[in-house]
């Protein structure tokens, strides 16, 4: 008996709460007339960013591709004349992307970042396939000041061995001094 009364009470409280909300201010906005505020960390359209020197940040390590739960990232590594790795092509199939942000988590270079732009509608699904030229922006995105090659031991143009952060100059292997 007790149980039944409790249940009825609970139903009444619920009805009341719903009724009360009719008189509170709405959280939804009249999109698209009014644009909602989205925090920078919002997970929308993905971009590829550049390092502070304006070079492509992506080193084609494939970590974003492997972590992607829907496998919608495909790329191919290539190398410039000085040994810098970068993607020959970089493709995201946004018609599959679930905006989970795992790629951004996995990226060791801050290259791949999700942005607050969620307005990705197309009549033709094929247009949801973005290549590097569509993904690459000219700025650093959310994370400023980081350049992977400044911490990596690989030498590239204008950064020789021993010039990365925390590195001693290359040793003289011919020296036998203690």
């Amino acid at each position: 008996m007790d149980m039944i009364l409790k249940a009825i009470w609970s139903q009444l409280v619920t009805l009341f709460e719903v009724l009360r909300h009719t008189f509170t201010k709405a959280d939804t906005v009249e999109y698209p007339e009014e644009m909602p505020y989205l925090a920078p960390r919002y997970r929308g359209r993905i971009v590829l960013t550049r390092d502070p020197d304006g070079e492509e940040r992506c080193v084609a390590c494939n970590l974003c591709a492997v972590v992607c739960p829907v496998d919608c990232i495909a790329l191919q590594k290539t190398e410039d004349d000085h040994g810098r790795w970068y993607p020959e092509f970089f493709r995201i199939n946004f018609s599959r992307c679930i905006m989970c942000g795992m790629c951004e988590e996995a990226c060791p270079t801050y290259a791949i970042q999700l942005t607050p732009d969620f307005e990705m509608c197309e009549y033709d699904r094929q247009n949801m396939v973005y290549e590097k030229e569509h993904l690459l922006i000219s700025g650093q995105g959310k994370y400023h000041g980081y350049s992977f090659y400044n911490v990596s031991g690989k030498s590239i143009e204008d950064k020789d061995k021993g010039e990365a952060r925390n590195e001693a100059p290359p040793v003289d292997v011919r020296s036998l001094l203690p």
């Binding site: 080193v59 992607c68 493709r91 690989k154 021993g162 590195e167 040793v171 020296s175």
Partner: protein, 882 residues
């Protein structure tokens, strides 16, 4: 079998093993770096530490290196004790002090033993704040990349390169934390087995440069178990693909064939699959003499129309048994030949007789157990390269015997080598010129091919007689051995050399039944096609004028001379690659390469092995046997042809059993060629169409071109790559072995087709014209297919004519002069290690005509400027070295 206790668990240990091997064999993960299953222990890295207890009452124990600890009855150890785990953690932490922040741009990433071990010990944070030591890299040639910063100084590379593979141009230099592993000067690594450094080095110091050019992580590679196509030994490989290209070849452990290592021709030669010379589709030559691309269906219809009269089918020792049999059945047994020259057929006839005889034919791994070896006119390192590595281990038998007598375990590598010093078991080489194994030979004789034959005849006589002579010395060496081995092969194209070697082995075997004979054949399937049919004579069949000739994956124009095809009206060529024969065909059909087709191949020891397709070929490219099946109208699958082969040829019964057939499933699922982490499935082809196509279906095998399916439980003959949780590198192989270094848990793959029972009566030697122009096989340059691999092709030597000073004087030439035969121009190299009256030239593309030349026809070239080193190609020796 001593019983030991590890963390209070009783374990049956194998006598003679070290503790690390026992632990790994029993599924207990212990991290290690410097120990290698084929190279033993030196205790250099301190990573494999465990706690050992002195007696049952000892509760404290002490840290010991498991790789340096023999197992004894009742011994107690702990892998999990706190001090052992923290010790192992601190070792990795120390190794990581100077490690660069490179994984994202490191070719080893994702299959890095150092990554695996770091994760295994749980090290994650670099506490040391000091500066990292850095190094400059070296240019090591077109095959191997170098990034010294990543080194953890485990010394595996030099132990492999110098001690195991006999190389002398890679060493450890410098002192203290400046130890550097590289060459004295930048330059191409000289050893033919340098590619194994990629797998031996547990880090990304030595990486596969050919892979890096079109890099993919291991998890993205679609792979399959394949058989190396580059020589007759049939080493087991994994071939891997991404985006329709063969990206790399890795070693596939086989306990009887190739063990843990491959040669560079095999490892890097498979990139011929990506050659621009590949034939992408069918073509029919039109009236104007040009090829018109047509659909495969039209081309097949056209060929069917030509099949009315007598059709000759020319098979090939580089095509699979399936394709050869399909051709044989299409044209009829009388009109089929295996596509070898008469000399080749004669030589492989000898090999077949020896395999069928009661002489004992060891496997390549067994070669390492023989204690005296005579190499008769076979250029092992260039012609059957992997065998040279085994011979290098065999000459250590005397040292290993010493160690055994002294009670030192074989895995105690440094101690055994210290004990053996320069003592080597006898290795006698009879060859017309220097041999790459000379450095370990106890005795070498430079003899013209005919003189090699007479020398062996003298040895046979000397076995019974007692007259002092060179031959007597060799005979007594062989007689003194517990297990003598005769190695010979087809590299000098002399059937007599093979025959006389067999006779010698038979003579020795009468004295010592443990005698072995190991004969190297010519190509990947030479023995196999000789078993299908070794009587059909291409010259004769083609001489009999036939309207239509079907040539299967064989460059007849080069092999048998271009005149033979002059009279053929309709030349139908089925091949994967453009070559002189293809380009004179009237119809060409695009065959799949080995990486795109299933096939069975019989190696030189008569082992039938299955090679699986790695990926689905593009467009109209089709496996040879399927094209021929379509022509014959029977549309059989690979398994269907395997059954036919067994039905038609009693000797090939093992073809069906050498690997499971297409019906094989593991709990209803196929075996996935891709890893379960393969990426990009919904994006790879999205540039073509956003609607993902169905994954290609495999109608031929139990494997699947997808990531769905089983992998880790596949039997060795179907396992597409080795991987085990926590073991991403090839070191994971021990998870699949019965015990470390033993056979696979699923058994040894391949079926040896010969039981060897017939008594060998002895071969009659035939009349052989004395050859003075000797073609030397080159590991890079003498194999039709691997020559087309982009990077290997840069290592092909330039034409040279090597001769002794006396021969040079008689030809009135001197060192670095030019010598011409027709339009072939060779650089004279004076080398007194060449047998008298012999001129050695390289068997490389373009020198084929020299095969029928005479010394007297060679002309000195006036005003010739020689390349600086004709043996070394004109490589760009400056590469990025920083």
């Amino acid at each position: 079998m001593p019983t030991i206790f590890v963390d209070d668990r009783a374990i049956e240990a194998k006598t003679g093993d070290n503790l690390l091997e026992v632990l790994l064999s029993n599924g207990i993960d212990v991290p290690y770096f410097c120990w290698h299953p084929a190279m033993g222990s030196v205790g250099a890295c301190r990573q494999c530490a465990v706690v050992g207890y002195a007696n049952p009452d000892d509760t404290r124990g002490r840290i010991i290196m498991s790789c340096m600890t023999p197992v004894t009855e009742g011994a107690r150890f702990s892998v999990e004790a706190e001090n052992a785990t923290s010790f192992r953690n601190s070792v990795v932490e120390n190794l990581m002090l100077n490690h660069p922040h490179d994984c994202p741009v490191c070719e080893e990433g994702g299959e890095c033993h150092l990554q695996d071990m770091t994760v295994m010990v749980g090290h994650s944070d670099r506490r040391y704040k000091g500066l990292k030591t850095t190094f400059r890299n070296q240019y090591l040639g077109p095959l191997i990349g170098h990034e010294m910063n990543r080194c953890i100084t485990c010394y595996r590379c030099v132990r492999y390169y110098q001690d195991y593979a006999g190389g002398d141009d890679l060493a450890a230099f410098g002192s203290r934390d400046r130890v550097f592993f590289g060459r004295a000067e930048p330059g191409v690594l000289d050893n033919e087995f340098s590619g194994n450094l990629v797998e031996v080095c547990p880090t990304g110091v030595f990486t596969d440069k050919t892979l890096s050019k079109h890099y993919s992580r291991k998890w993205d590679l679609q792979s399959a178990p394949t058989v190396c196509q580059a020589c007759s030994l049939g080493c087991n490989t994994y071939t891997s693909e991404r985006y329709g290209e063969v990206r790399r070849v890795h070693n596939r452990y086989h306990n009887e064939v190739n063990g843990y290592f491959l040669c560079d021709r095999g490892r890097f030669g498979a990139q011929h699959v990506n050659s621009p010379k590949r034939i992408p589709g069918a073509g029919i030559r039109n009236a104007g003499g040009l090829y018109e691309p047509v659909s495969i269906a039209d081309a097949l219809d056209k060929v069917k129309g030509l099949l009315t009269g007598k059709v000759i089918g020319i098979g090939s020792p580089r095509a699979s048994l399936e394709s050869n049999e399909a051709l044989r059945q299409l044209v009829g047994a009388d009109n089929y030949c295996n596509g070898m020259t008469s000399t080749e057929r004669e030589m492989h006839g000898v090999i077949l007789e020896v395999l069928a005889s009661n002489l004992s034919v060891p496997t390549m791994m067994e070669v390492e157990t023989f204690d005296a070896i005579l190499v008769v006119g076979e250029d092992v390192t260039n012609h059957a390269p992997r065998l040279a590595l085994s011979i290098r281990q065999a000459v250590r038998n005397i040292g290993q015997q010493l160690a055994a007598d002294t009670g030192i375990s074989q895995w105690h590598d440094a101690a055994v080598r210290e004990l053996e010093q320069d003592e080597k078991s006898p290795l006698v080489i009879l060859s017309p010129m220097t041999d790459r194994l000379d450095d370990i030979a106890s005795d070498t004789h430079r003899l013209a091919p005919n003189d090699i034959v007479s020398m062996v005849e003298q040895i046979i006589e000397a076995i019974d007689e007692d007259k002092p002579s060179d031959a007597k010395d060799i005979a007594s060496t062989l007689l003194a051995a517990k297990r003598p081995l005769i190695i010979s092969g087809t590299s000098l194209s002399s059937p007599n050399i093979l025959k006389v070697s067999a006779n010698l082995a038979a003579a020795l075997a009468r004295k010592n039944p443990s005698t072995g004979i190991f004969l190297c054949a010519s190509e990947v399937n030479s023995v196999g096609v000789a078993m299908i049919d070794n009587t059909g004579n291409a010259e004769e069949l083609l001489g009999n004028r036939s309207e239509t000739v079907i040539v299967l994956e064989n460059d007849i124009d080069t092999r048998l001379g271009s005149a033979l095809l002059d009279e053929v009206r309709n030349l139908v060529v089925i091949d994967a690659m453009d070559n002189p024969t293809t380009s004179r065909s009237s119809i060409v059909l695009p065959a799949a390469s080995f990486a795109e087709a299933e096939g069975t191949f019989v190696n030189n020891e008569g082992r039938a092995q299955r090679s699986m397709a790695t990926f689905n070929p593009a467009g109209d490219i089709t496996p040879g046997y399927q094209l021929l099946s379509a022509l014959g109208g029977d549309h059989l699958s690979a398994s269907g042809w395997q059954q036919k082969l067994t039905a038609e040829h009693a000797s090939l019964a093992g073809v069906v059993t050498c690997a499971p057939d297409e019906q094989f499933r593991i709990e209803g699922s196929r075996i996935a060629r891709m890893t379960h982490r393969a990426s990009g499935r919904t994006a790879m082809l999205a540039d073509v169409s956003v609607h993902e196509p169905q994954q290609p279906l495999d109608t031929e095998s139990p494997l699947a071109f997808t990531m769905e399916g089983n992998q880790t439980r596949a039997p060795a003959s179907l396992r597409p790559y080795t991987w085990s949780p926590g073991w991403n590198s090839n070191q994971s192989i021990h998870k699949f072995q019965d015990e470390v270094g033993g056979p696979d848990k699923s058994g040894t793959t391949g079926t040896r087709l010969f039981t060897g029972s017939t008594e060998l009566t002895g071969f009659e030697l035939s009349e052989e014209a004395s050859a003075n122009l000797i073609g030397q096989v080159h590991i890079f340059g003498s194999d039709e297919l691997s020559n087309e691999a982009a990077e290997l092709s840069t290592l092909i030597p330039q034409p040279y004519a090597r001769m002794s000073s006396a021969t040079a004087a008689s030809l009135e030439v001197s060192h670095h002069d030019g010598l011409a035969f027709g339009d072939i121009i060779m650089t004279v190299l004076v080398d007194d290690e060449v047998a008298e009256r012999c001129v050695v030239y390289p068997m490389i593309p373009g020198t084929e005509a020299l095969g029928s030349a005479q010394l007297s026809e060679l002309q000195k070239v006036a005003g010739y400027t020689s390349p600086s080193d004709p043996l070394r190609p004109s490589l760009i020796t400056t590469d990025r070295t920083s």
